[in-house]
C-alpha cells in the first residue's frame, strides 16, 4: 500500500485558487508560501466561509504572519489525503515550529488526526489511502519513495488517544524503542528509563516496581508511561493524538503539566477536542474544518483575537 507518488506540488493543479502571496520570505520558506494571510472582511459572516468549505469551494487559510517566518521542523505543503474515494485533507499548507507546542483543533472529522498520523505515516496502514502534496521532517521528504518508514517513525514519538502499554514490565515498556534499536547496555537502558519516567512525572510513582506489569497501572499512569516510552527514544517531534480524551481531570492536568514542562525542548504536535486544553498547553493553534486549515496563529490570538469570525464562533462554542 504505497501512497501514490506525489507529483511534487505542481502549482495550480489541485491547489486552492488563491492568489499566491508575494512576500519576501517566500523563497526562504518555500513550503509555507501557499497560505495567504486571509483578512477577515467584515461582511464575511461565519456561515459564508463554512458554506464555501461545505460546497467544496477552495478557501484560503488565514495564517498569522509570525508563523510564516518561524523555523519549522515539519513542513506541510498543499498536502492532500484520500481514504479511498473520500478526500480527508484538502491541500493543507502549514509548518510546525521547532520546539514549540502546536495544537490542532476542530470538530470531529475535520482531518486533524489524519494530518497528525500522516506525519509518521501511520495512515499507510489503512487500505486505500492516497496522498498528494509534500511533507517534510527536518527537510527530509516524508513521502519520498526512498524514505525508510521505519527510520522515519524512529524519529517521531507518538502518544495515542487510548493508552496502549505493551503487556510487559514498566521498565521494558519505557525502553522498548531502545530495545528494538538493539541497545543492550544495562546502564544506558536504566538511565533512559529513569530520565524518561522523570520527564513524564511518573518516576516517583513507579520507581519501586519497574519490574511489575505495566497493565497494573491506572489509566492516567498508563498514558504517562506511553509518553515516557515515546520520549525515551528522544524523538524530534512528539505527536499526541487526543492524549487526554480517556482520562479524568487530574490525570489530564498531569499530562498538560508534562507538555508545558517539555515545551521549548521537544516539538509537540497535539490534537485535542478540548479547546481549553489547547489554550492552556499550546504556543500555536491551528483550526481545521472539513479537511481544510481554516486559521493558524499564536494560541492567544486564535482564542482572543482570531482573524476569522468562524474561528471565533468555533472557539467560543457557537458551532462545531
Amino acid at each position: 500500500m504505497t501512497p501514490a507518488p506525489t507529483s511534487p506540488t505542481s502549482p495550480g493543479t489541485a491547489a486552492p485558487a488563491a492568489a499566491p502571496a508575494t512576500e519576501p520570505s517566500m523563497s526562504a520558506m518555500p513550503l509555507v508560501s501557499r497560505p495567504v494571510v486571509g483578512i477577515a472582511s467584515p461582511e464575511q459572516s461565519a456561515t459564508s466561509f463554512i458554506d464555501a468549505i461545505k460546497a467544496g469551494k477552495p478557501v484560503t487559510s488565514a495564517v498569522h504572519p509570525s508563523l510564516l517566518k518561524a523555523d519549522h521542523i515539519v513542513k506541510v505543503d498543499d498536502f492532500q489525503l484520500w481514504y479511498s474515494q473520500n478526500k480527508a485533507l484538502h491541500g493543507v499548507t502549514m509548518g510546525f515550529p521547532r520546539s514549540k507546542v502546536t495544537a490542532m483543533i476542530g470538530p470531529s472529522g475535520c482531518g486533524k488526526s489524519t494530518l497528525l498520523r500522516s506525519i509518521n505515516r501511520l495512515n499507510d496502514l489503512i487500505d486505500g489511502v492516497r496522498v498528494a502534496g509534500k511533507m517534510t521532517l527536518s527537510g527530509d521528504d516524508v513521502y519520498a519513495p526512498k524514505m525508510d518508514v521505519i527510520n522515519l517513525r524512529k524519529r517521531l514519538g507518538m502518544v495515542f488517544q487510548k493508552s496502549n502499554p505493551f503487556p510487559m514490565s514498566i521498565f521494558e515498556n519505557v525502553v522498548y524503542g531502545l530495545r528494538i534499536d538493539g541497545e543492550k547496555r544495562k546502564s544506558v537502558l536504566a538511565d533512559a528509563c529513569e530520565s524518561a519516567l522523570r520527564a513524564a512525572a511518573l518516576w516517583e510513582e513507579v520507581k519501586d516496581r519497574l519490574k511489575g506489569s505495566a497493565l497494573g497501572l491506572s489509566g492516567g499512569q498508563q498514558q504517562r508511561l506511553c509518553i515516557a516510552r515515546a520520549i525515551a527514544a528522544e524523538p524530534e517531534v512528539l505527536l499526541m493524538d487526543e492524549p487526554c480524551s480517556a482520562l479524568d481531570p487530574i490525570a489530564t492536568l498531569k499530562i498538560e503539566e508534562f507538555i508545558r514542562s517539555i515545551a521549548g525542548r521537544i516539538t509537540v504536535v497535539i490534537v485535542t477536542h478540548n479547546m481549553q486544553q489547547a489554550a492552556r498547553v499550546s504556543d500555536n493553534t491551528a483550526f481545521f474544518y472539513l479537511g481544510r486549515l481554516v486559521e493558524y496563529g499564536p494560541t492567544a490570538d486564535i482564542f482572543q483575537n482570531p482573524m476569522l469570525p468562524e474561528t471565533e464562533s468555533y472557539v467560543t462554542g457557537r458551532f462545531g
Binding site: N120, L122, L125, D127, M158, F160, N164, Y176
Partner: protein
C-alpha cells in the same frame, strides 16, 4: 449549523398535543400455550445435551471400573500390556524346572495391563505434531491477519484453512500410509540416519536396546516409515487448521492501538508481529491446547501410520501406539472382560485429558477475549 437544525427537527416532532397510547389486544391463549410449549422444548433440548455428556461418561466409568479397581493408579505407570494368561514353569531351588507326570509344573500369571506405553506414544506424537504445526499455524495466522487483507485473499484463505478441517481423517491416514510413510522410509529417514546417525549424543534416536535370549543387543532401528515421526507429521497437518483458525481470531482481536503503538516506535513488521503475539499469548496458548487435545484424541489417521507397537522406545523413528490407536486396534478383539475394561480405562484417561485440555483452552481463548473486550 447542523446542531441547530437537528434541534429544530426534534422540537417539531415533539410539538403538538399529547397523543393517546394505542390500545393493543392481549396475547391470545394459543400463542401463550405455544409459548410455554416451546419454552419447555428448549429446556428439554438443553437437558438432553447435558445428559449426552453424562451418560457416556458414566457408562465408561461403570465399564472401566473392574480395571480401575484392579490396577488403580499403577495402570498409569505400568508398561505391560498382555491380554493373555502366561504360564510360567515353576523352578526348584537349584533352578531346575519341576516336572510332574512328565509335564512342567506351571503357575498361571493373569493378564496384565498398563497404559504407560500408550501414554508415552500419545504424548510424543502429540508433541511432534505441535512442533510441526504451531510455527506454521502462527505464521499463517499472522499472514491472514496482516498481509492477506491487503491483497484481498483473507476470505478465500480462511475458507481453505477451515476446509482442511473438514477433510475426513481417513483421507489424511491414507495419504500418510501410501505417500508420506514410504517417502519417510526411503528418503527422509535414511538421510537422517546417514547425517545425524554418527552424532554420539543422538544415538538414542537411531538405536534400540533389545533383549534377545537374555543378552542385551544394541540394534539399529530400521527406517520403517510407519513410526512416531510419521504419526506426528500427519497429526500436525490435521491440527493445523484448528490452531490457525483460533490464533487468527486471537490475533484479529489484538487492538489496533497495540500494533500502531509498536509501529509508531519504529518497530519493523516482524517486531510488531512479535508484539501481537505477545499481546495474544494467552489466547494463542489456548489455541495450542485445542490442537493438543485434538492431536491426543485423533484415532484413524494415527492408527494407520504410527506402526502400533505397544512398547516404549525413546526414538521418534520407532513405531509406537497412542491411546486412541490402541482402542481402535484392540477393541474388536477384547473378548476377555478385563481386557475390555482396561481399554475403557484408557478411554477414560483420554476423555479426562481431552476435557482438561479443552477447559484450559476455552478459559484462555474465550475467557480472555471476552474479558479484554469487556474492558474496552
Amino acid at each position: 449549523m447542523s446542531g441547530l437544525s437537528m434541534e429544530t427537527a426534534t422540537a417539531a416532532t415533539l410539538a403538538g398535543s399529547p397523543r393517546p397510547a394505542r390500545h393493543r389486544p392481549p396475547a391470545s391463549g394459543i400463542s401463550r400455550f405455544v409459548d410455554s410449549g416451546l419454552r419447555w422444548a428448549c429446556r428439554g433440548a438443553a437437558a438432553t445435551i447435558l445428559l449426552m455428556l453424562i451418560l457416556p461418561v458414566s457408562v465408561l466409568l461403570i465399564q472401566a471400573w473392574p480395571a480401575v479397581h484392579r490396577f488403580g493408579a499403577g495402570f498409569l505407570v505400568s508398561s505391560e500390556w498382555r491380554a493373555n494368561e502366561l504360564e510360567i514353569p515353576v523352578r526348584d531351588a537349584a533352578g531346575k524346572i519341576i516336572q510332574k507326570d512328565g509335564e512342567n509344573v506351571t503357575t498361571i500369571e493373569p493378564p496384565s495391563f498398563g497404559a504407560l506405553p500408550v501414554l508415552y506414544g500419545t504424548a510424543v506424537s502429540a508433541m511432534l505434531a505441535l512442533i510441526f504445526a504451531v510455527p506454521f499455524s502462527f505464521a499463517a495466522a499472522l499472514f491472514i491477519v496482516r498481509v492477506a487483507p491487503k491483497i484481498k485473499i483473507a476470505g478465500p484463505l480462511s475458507f481453505l484453512i477451515e476446509f482442511l478441517a473438514a477433510i475426513p481423517s481417513l483421507a489424511y491416514g491414507l495419504w500418510g500410509l501410501f505417500v508420506l510413510a514410504p517417502f519417510l522410509a526411503t528418503t527422509v529417514e535414511p538421510a537422517l540416519i546417514s547425517t545425524l546417525g554418527k552424532v554420539p549424543f543422538l544415538s538414542w534416536m537411531f538405536f534400540q536396546d533389545v533383549e534377545i535370549a537374555g543378552a542385551t543387543v544394541r540394534r539399529q532401528l530400521p527406517a520403517a516409515g510407519r513410526d512416531m515421526l510419521c504419526g506426528g507429521l500427519v497429526l500436525g497437518i490435521m491440527i493445523l487448521p484448528i490452531i490457525t483458525a483460533v490464533s487468527r481470531d486471537v490475533l484479529k482481536n489484538v487492538p489496533r492501538a497495540q500494533i500502531e503503538g509498536s509501529l509508531a516506535m519504529g518497530a519493523t513488521w516482524w517486531q510488531s508481529c512479535v508484539e501481537m503475539l505477545r499481546y495474544g499469548r494467552a489466547g494463542l496458548f489456548g489455541a495450542v491446547m485445542l490442537g493438543l487435545a485434538r492431536a491426543a484424541g485423533e484415532t484413524m489417521a494415527v492408527t494407520m501410520v504410527i506402526g502400533n507397537n505397544n512398547q516404549i522406545v525413546l526414538s521418534p523413528l520407532a513405531p509406537a501406539q497412542t491411546m486412541a490407536s490402541l482402542l481402535a486396534n484392540e477393541f474388536a478383539e477384547a473378548t476377555d472382560g478385563l481386557h475390555g475394561s482396561a481399554l475403557l480405562y484408557v478411554a477414560l484417561i483420554l476423555l479426562v485429558m481431552s476435557l482438561l485440555f479443552n477447559i484450559v483452552a476455552r478459559y484462555l481463548v474465550v475467557g480472555k477475549n471476552s474479558r479484554t473486550s469487556g474492558a474496552h
